[in-house]
Amino acid sequence: MSDLTLTTTRQRPFDPPDEIAELREQTPIHRMTYADGHLGWIVTSYAAARAILADARFSNRPELMHPLIPARMELAGDQALRVPPGFFLRMDAPEHTRYRKLLTGQFTVRRMKELEPRIAEITDSCLDAMEAAAKPVDLVQEFALPIPSLVICELLGVPYEDRAQFQEDTKVLVNLEIKAEDAMGAMTRISAYLYGLIQRKRAKPEDDLLSGLIENGELNDEELTGVAFLLLVAGHETTANMLGLGTYALLTNPAQLALMRDDPSAVENGVEELLRYLTIIHLGPVRSALADVEIEGRLIKAGESVAIHLPVANRDPSRFPDGDALDLTRPATGHLTFGHGIHQCLGQQLARAEMRIAYPALLRRFPGLRLAISPEEVPMRSDMSIYGVHRLPVTW
């Protein structure tokens, strides 16, 4: 046993819990007790995090993984967490490779650049709606959620009319507080919908990613459903939370906000810095050792789980000096916010394109944008697997 368990309680909204940041000052890898009593590890240094994420001796298969926090207990165990066909995030190579290869061509830097005009149109229409609404508005509902939601639905070819149900269901999936059966229910509903959509596209192909994958012929309908499911869930709340939390961070750092709004040359790196500073995947990822592995002088035994604490690793002073400060001009590339190794985020270039367009567009449309409540009152998603704000009431 180790006295250490994973806390999700933060002292300040943008900083990871002090207890975990302090661990990094001691050693890069610590013993930690998981919610099911498993004695595993937590990794807090940048170098060790990178090394483990790039190491094929660590598996991402769910049946090997132990739950980090009690809210995830019911979801653990091989029954509930068998990998559905096509859900390649939780597969290891070479199974993972087969899917990833089919998709990378759709997510290249060039492809994402081609999507930019459409992203800009979607952003403008959301800003128009926001401008027309009665103040104050919730920035999450009017801006942060609809933009990525519309973009990913468009990329996949999911009709806009169907997205309300999706947002409900994906919210359930990433909420740590909900019961396992509710999560399973939402998963089943999303999958059933996507399966139907794939049938429709098979009968009547269109110019979208799903139709392209169907035409390619490599995947059967169950596998296609899993892939579509993964893209939809992974592309939905992640970027949404970056947009909401990032705006909150900028509103409380006016000098940084001014840079993002007024200096087009600051935007690209500014987005990288927001990604680093906010590290919204804040409770993992978790990997399990397939063999005994020695890292930083510690022997991780086969079968032990390792939690990579990305927010703390991304503030490691040996990689990012003064890492607790938000500074849009610092060299911020190389952060681990999108992971590292074979699972590094497939949608990262899409997420970058969305943020590079959306933050400046918002701040230029509403130069007087400000919080409509006091900063301490902003409800934070401390308990969710993706960090962010539940609501962000703003006015201008």
């Binding site: 994420l53 790039a54 490779t97 990833r100 290869k101 998709l103 990378t104 061509g105 759709q106 997510f107 290249t108 830097v109 060039r110 590339t333 190389g334 999108f338 992971g339 590292h340 190794g341 074979i342 590094q344 985020c345 497939l346 990262q348 270039q349």
Partner: protein
């Protein structure tokens, strides 16, 4: 400097193409790395080294 790329391990994350677009591209079909110039000019060598460290899969290296 000479760049070597292994498309069998490349996962198409695009960090190379994002970092040094003059040297790296991604194939239209598979999205895997395409080296446009395997002997980059001296002024791009630092950027190429940065791309090598940023690549998540170890697919590119320099000798």
């Amino acid at each position: 400097m000479e760049i070597k790329a292994d498309t069998t391990v490349c996962i198409g994350a695009g960090m190379c193409a994002l970092t040094v677009p003059a040297i790296f591209d991604q194939s239209e079909e598979e999205g895997t790395v395409v080296v446009l110039d395997s002997t980059p000019p001296a002024e791009l060598e630092d950027a190429v080294r940065r791309a090598v460290t940023l690549c998540p899969s170890g697919a590119i290296s320099v000798v």
